[in-house]
Symmetry: none
Subunit: 220 residues, 4 copies
Amino acid sequence: MTETAESAATDAAATPARRAVPATARGRRSRQALLDAARVVFARDGFTNARITDISDEAGVAHGSFYTYFKSKDEIFLALIEELEEDLRVSGDGERAGATDGSAYARILRANTDYLTAYHDNRGIMVVWEQAATLNEEVAELRSQASERAVARIVRSIEHMQTAGDVPAAIDARYAATALTGMVSNFAYRWCLRDEDFELDKAAEQLSRLWANALGIPTP
Amino acid sequence: MTETAESAATDAAATPARRAVPATARGRRSRQALLDAARVVFARDGFTNARITDISDEAGVAHGSFYTYFKSKDEIFLALIEELEEDLRVSGDGERAGATDGSAYARILRANTDYLTAYHDNRGIMVVWEQAATLNEEVAELRSQASERAVARIVRSIEHMQTAGDVPAAIDARYAATALTGMVSNFAYRWCLRDEDFELDKAAEQLSRLWANALGIPTP
Amino acid sequence: MTETAESAATDAAATPARRAVPATARGRRSRQALLDAARVVFARDGFTNARITDISDEAGVAHGSFYTYFKSKDEIFLALIEELEEDLRVSGDGERAGATDGSAYARILRANTDYLTAYHDNRGIMVVWEQAATLNEEVAELRSQASERAVARIVRSIEHMQTAGDVPAAIDARYAATALTGMVSNFAYRWCLRDEDFELDKAAEQLSRLWANALGIPTP
Amino acid sequence: MTETAESAATDAAATPARRAVPATARGRRSRQALLDAARVVFARDGFTNARITDISDEAGVAHGSFYTYFKSKDEIFLALIEELEEDLRVSGDGERAGATDGSAYARILRANTDYLTAYHDNRGIMVVWEQAATLNEEVAELRSQASERAVARIVRSIEHMQTAGDVPAAIDARYAATALTGMVSNFAYRWCLRDEDFELDKAAEQLSRLWANALGIPTP
DNA sequence: AATGAATGAGCATTCATTCAT
DNA sequence: TATGAATGAATGCTCATTCAT
């Protein structure tokens, strides 16, 4: 996670050596059962407390079968995140199709709404993802890459607006993009972590307003 | 804490049988040696990988002596961050003495500079603190409380400025305070986590500029 | 990012399904090997001194395998005495089949002979059982229940004889049953504890004579 | 405990090498404070769970001071038992002064009443004594010796009555003495262990009746 | 492929006993 | 003597990973 407003993608990342997709339908079913179970168990117990036994049990497969498909807890978690990123991207794509429509503020608002919605819909694993990123180098790397892609996109957008004179030159695009994406993802995290009583629509509106103001973009 | 500079210790928690302050000077030295060692080991190995053995070794005391002063890894970590919070508060207080001097922007800049400085000076444990907060309920609670204190302070400040007509009424003080403190602490975290090449002064200036703009406060 | 809650909570979790009866023959063999080893080790070293390591070693399984079948020393001991009780009951039942044969004295003699024989045959664990009962609530409970079953049976028998006028009414059946079973079990314990030189047949005869006399039942 | 009807003594036993009685009054006070504390702690926590720390704390002396007076948990327990046996003997002596008064039954009743009273008055440690005897060779030895002294006394008494023709020759004095003292001590143990609702007077009366009947001695 | 048993490294923790002041 | 800190041997227990059917 950690993506942030106006982003969510991933995939591009070189996939580390993983076990091949199972040849048989039965194998594919088992693998998927494990992934589904992992999502449940990680969300429920957190990364550290989740045990491979629990995931196997939840999936209804034998303990030892886990290793037919994944070689460690870290690996299944990475697979899970990849699956998750696909979901996030798909749900984001629909809306982002018309990402160039409307005013700058409208685009920001749309992106933030999408992001908060996706984060909240998947809050169970999103929160665990944050945890896992502090524990596993590869997870941190994935998270970092996603972040950087989001930042890069926003850097380009800010620079474009600066060229057009819509954003002050005193603002450093990279610092700003890093800070603003961090603002949104951190807000989403805190919101979901303890279920603070923020409302999605209002949060999206307020964050977008702060974001636009920060860059000198007109708001309603 | 961690949110931002300042903060107030916690301690509320009643320390169990474990004597908070050893009776003899020798005991006080041992306890402090363990705390100092913990700081080193946690910063070096992270919360999860740090072993009580390592801390004892680093402190130069017998393995079992650890338990004379602390009853678990979690407990020494909590003691460590209480100590840390005191340090942070002290170093923050000094500078914030004249917190009402100068323009609103100047005050924001000063606070952010203080915060980034303190965070960076203690980056080893600050990063581990973030990790530990994902693993231990009490640590998370401490961190959360510090956050809330910072947010509360800024909420008051924003409301005050709104009353004075310096910040638009369209902004919700609580959402804004949460988002902006999150922006800064998240920036600090990312900066220190991987030692990205941000410069402190520039970062403080840019974050303050975004912060001020977001609230409609004039910037240089 | 980084907040989070979740975390620490844990443990609550559960007992990794300790299966009473392993699914495979191999598992059943291992479990039984551990029980057999426990019998040897407990008898040799006593409850307190017996280490799980010793039991595993004696059983020829890996240290960790112990925990596949039992979760503590207490638990395997309980399983062991349940097994033991079955044995005792079976061996007792055989002889007690004709428990109504012969004179009252003859029946008493037979029961005491059976009891002393079984106790002596299993003296190793019987003595440890007494020890364990002073250390573990559940063991004490099991032991107590077995006692009570025996007492209850004898209470009925005494009351029956009182109705028939064969035992004086001045005797309280419950006090008497408690005292007399205690007399026999205590005798057996002392006998086996230090291998005092009592002879089984003579002991059974003397105890039965005292028992019968105590109740006013004629003896040869 | 373990004494039994008509007995309670001890003392005679050769005292194993113990630390000398403290020279100073202060030392004597500390030693006694530890013994008193030990009685409380052992009764409360049992032999196994009692920690030297707890005894020191309860006594109000420093942890390390324990070793000035006793060299181990076993040793202080033995000292405690010796003290206890003195108490028991003293309280028994008063009544036993006229031990030859009255009928044989009256003497038996008086002895059993004394025994049950003393046992119940000290039930806390008596029960722990039984436990400790299963754990420590020396404690077991003390217990055994006391038992044997009681048994020996009763053997003489029975033989005397047999000579006088008051007890049948078919009874073996040693077996009988062992069995009957065991009956009483075991009854006392069970009574105190779980606080079963036996009444002292009735218990003494019933046990004495069984005892007398068993030996062919006339009862009221 | 599936199963479930086997393995053992890895760490925490307790507490009796010794020591320095 | 009194204190309270220091020591470290002794074990229990978990769980990821490997193996034999």
